[in-house]
Point group: D2
Chain length 291, copies 4
């Protein structure tokens, strides 16, 4: 599995009363990402409100996503669980339904030691043979995995073959590159760092931006690959205000609001998260109108 390019994150649409995922709209949302040239689909990530779904709902979304994509491009299922046991349950399910890989982020209530994190990934990979993308995003998960730990796991756990780094600190990527002698593919998970991460050697960009920005993220990837830095820079600075907006406002809330503004109503995020407020909608309208 040599993944490069844009790994796109669908939102999880809900029915109007919020009681359950709307699978038909999920399919539409995924088709939209496919049309925009995305290279992989990652349902049930942070954007997909994975943490706010019941296990049954999570299973529905995972299964339907795999069916919709139907092997056209790889599907990477997100797993973010507090207990090892439940992470394994989800990993098993992902394997059963034919996902291509899993993206796993440990979640903390009590801080985890490096040994505990290592053990968490080891326990999951002992049960399931899928390739694993390690996902580091301390702002949401409460767990911060150092480049040293990540590379150690890459060396010690064969199924770990990719890492998504979302701290927004480019030095982490430098460190992963150096410690792994360039062997561990890293993917940028911080939208406002996309240009620089790609220039620094990121294999791809994990992002929900294509939901609202169409093929611009993929074009940025291509421009950097082609060494056309001037075009890449222009493209990036054009996207940046919207990227900053969706990150600071929270992805599920702002991406759902943006889709609605574009005419595709995918429901609200789960409570206690609320829909975008008036001011956010005004800003978002202004930002979207620039494209």
């Amino acid at each position: 599995m040599k993944l490069t390019g844009i790994i796109a994150y669908p939102i999880t649409p809900f029915t109007a009363d919020g009681s359950q995922p709307d699978l038909q709209k999920l399919a539409q949302s995924i088709e939209l990402l496919l049309q925009n040239g995305c290279d992989a689909i990652a349902p049930l990530g942070s954007t997909g409100e994975s943490a706010y779904l019941s296990f049954a709902e999570w299973q529905q979304v995972a299964q339907h996503s795999v069916q919709v994509v139907a092997k056209r491009i790889p599907v990477i299922i997100g797993i973010s669980e507090l207990t090892t046991e439940q992470a394994i349950n989800k990993a098993r399910f992902a394997a059963e339904i034919g996902a291509d890989a899993i993206m796993v982020i440990p979640v903390s209530y009590w801080k985890l030691t490096d040994d505990e994190i290592f053990g968490y990934y080891q326990a999951i990979t002992a049960e399931v043979s899928l390739p694993v993308m390690v996902y580091n995003n301390p702002a949401t998960s409460g767990v911060d995995m150092s480049p040293e730990l990540i590379v150690k796991m890459f060396r010690g756990i064969p199924q770990i073959t990719m890492v998504k780094e979302s701290t927004g600190d480019i030095q982490r990527m430098h460190k992963i590159y150096q410690l792994s002698s360039g062997e561990l593919p890293f993917y940028n998970g911080s939208n406002p760092l996309a240009l620089e991460a790609l220039c620094a050697g990121a294999s791809g960009w994990c992002t929900a931006a294509p939901n609202l920005l169409g093929s611009l993220p993929k074009e940025l990837f291509n421009q950097v690959q082609a060494g056309d830095l001037q075009a890449a820079k222009d493209n990036f600075y054009r996207q940046l205000p919207l990227l900053n907006f969706i990150v600071s406002g929270g992805l599920p809330k702002t991406v759902k609001a943006g889709l609605a503004l574009k005419g595709f109503d995918v429901g609200q995020p789960r409570k206690p998260l609320t829909a975008a407020n008036e001011q956010q909608l005004a800003t978002l309208t202004r930002l979207l109108n620039q494209f």
Copy 2:
């Protein structure tokens, strides 16, 4: 409900195979806290691994705790949930089984705005009439509630009558005192701040320390109340090395290890948390031997 003194946090014992809570040992653990003069029992807090239990397990522990205490002192049930819906489910259950209060901490994956946090507490208190202790502990929950927000909720939601502040920042307590004109009782949730919080006017100390330190925490409370600062200081500095140890090592892990060293085996914490390692056990043995 005018709560003062020591609000004690039991661990959640598990059976040897870790598969379920050991209710008999839970009862023993609670009796121990009662014997040491604690003024309230708070099951299913951070120490009680609330976040690592299934809903059914959580219900078992809550119900058994209330039965064991049997109105000898108040029982405050801990609720830490990502979704509003599940927080309400737990609050309802706490009310049904006869708990005296609930201690509620919002948990974040996506950051919550102040309005979303206010809405979270409002939704819960709309469904359940129990008194609510707001619990602020950003290190575990990922949500940091400012003194301004806490006092605003105290003014706007009548059931909110207490706040447990666990940031370890004494200035937060000063601010709560000032903003509420001394009307909102605050409780210290940061063990290494116990002496100063009580001197600054905290109504009590929320702590798992009595599990290992017996009546010393209660004596500290009494010494401060009596104005015997020299005795309070000596007592506090005596406890401090152990308090620092259990906080930095994580409460479930270290308190369970300490109880085992004292001859009361309550099982391991839930994975990915692991039992205390050799070095931690050696330190803990040395620290406990000083009492």
Copy 3:
């Protein structure tokens, strides 16, 4: 030298055109602090704009302060220098004019290692036999000395006999107490922490507050000594709004503004520092009117 109580910090008054220190007003300012029961005078501290004076001006202020106090209480001269050489020059001068002690804070442009900091204090004490108060205040100096380093210097350099801790982190004081077995007297340099620091065993409170609050700080010290926590708490919470204001606005600016409001014009702080603005003056007026 067994210093306890209130170590008071005079401002450095300037002439109307700001060109030089106004020594007559300096004397008045010091007399005011003496009248309010302060236990030591510390000219040329952070409050005294030491860092903004030429060496000649610094010498004037130091010498005049010693003469004015005239051995009624101890004088501790502040030294904050980037280079070891200039710190030694100032220390020698302090010894020559009969100061009782020096308070020394290393200042960084380039970060200093612990060995470099140790060497800095060692070089100074090799040249001058005065007692030294180590002063830790990373917010102004850019150097943060850990409790471990401070206690190591206390053990290794006999002239170091006191430490002023201004990080505002009460745990630092706990640590100094523990690491030195209670032998190294520590003084609180964080105004909004005064109550708690004294309760935790601080030997005194280093503060500019008596310039505006008269004898209230000294009374707080006495109340804590007497174990009258209720009175101490009332007194502290009464002072706290003003303490927070002068700290967040910057001591030279706010204390000078407060003295002017009380009818004692001591000039402006040195540029680029400016005088308090309209809004600050309004707040300060309101705060001072409460006493």
Copy 4:
């Protein structure tokens, strides 16, 4: 003045006894930088230990630097002063000796408000007509200037025509670019960010690295300009270990040590700074041997 490329920072050599700058070696050091294709010389920056020099020494170094460069490329004189008055004194001197620009960083003891910082630059530019590069480096100066403030000063003070950003946060550069509509040239002052800053549109790289790395920094600049990202990446990752080393060890100490290892003894940094220790020398030797 349309400056692009490498702005190189010479160290300030001292005589063997450390008592004064060694002007002959300073000249040699500058010639070395010129030979390596640097586009401007910036004496008396952080690397040049500006903050550790007496005014007379500072004047010597400034004057000699201008004479040695002799208009072959621009000379930008560094000014880092606590008081506005002394900053003006230095700016005047820079103008008198024929410097091409000044690089000005405000230094704090007491935190400065945005208005005070604006006033600082305004007061300097009112006295001297040289172009000004605003230099932001909170880690050394204690002053953090936001992109908003920097662009406001660029709009309000005509002589401010460049900014050196050294926080290491690429988002600051994005913000400066956006707020100034790409009109304010920014230069990267964080060595480990060089690749990304140039890709994001930095006009140049302000660095002491050419002292040890010869023409590699200039080649990196050229490679990015040419869109040869693969070569730029290889070059950057080759330099990175050394860049990280000199930054984390402190530039004057490590660059002086590196020059000595390369056979050019330029003396020690000023106390309390010390020479590189054994371990640092061993690491540095290993790193330099790779070129």
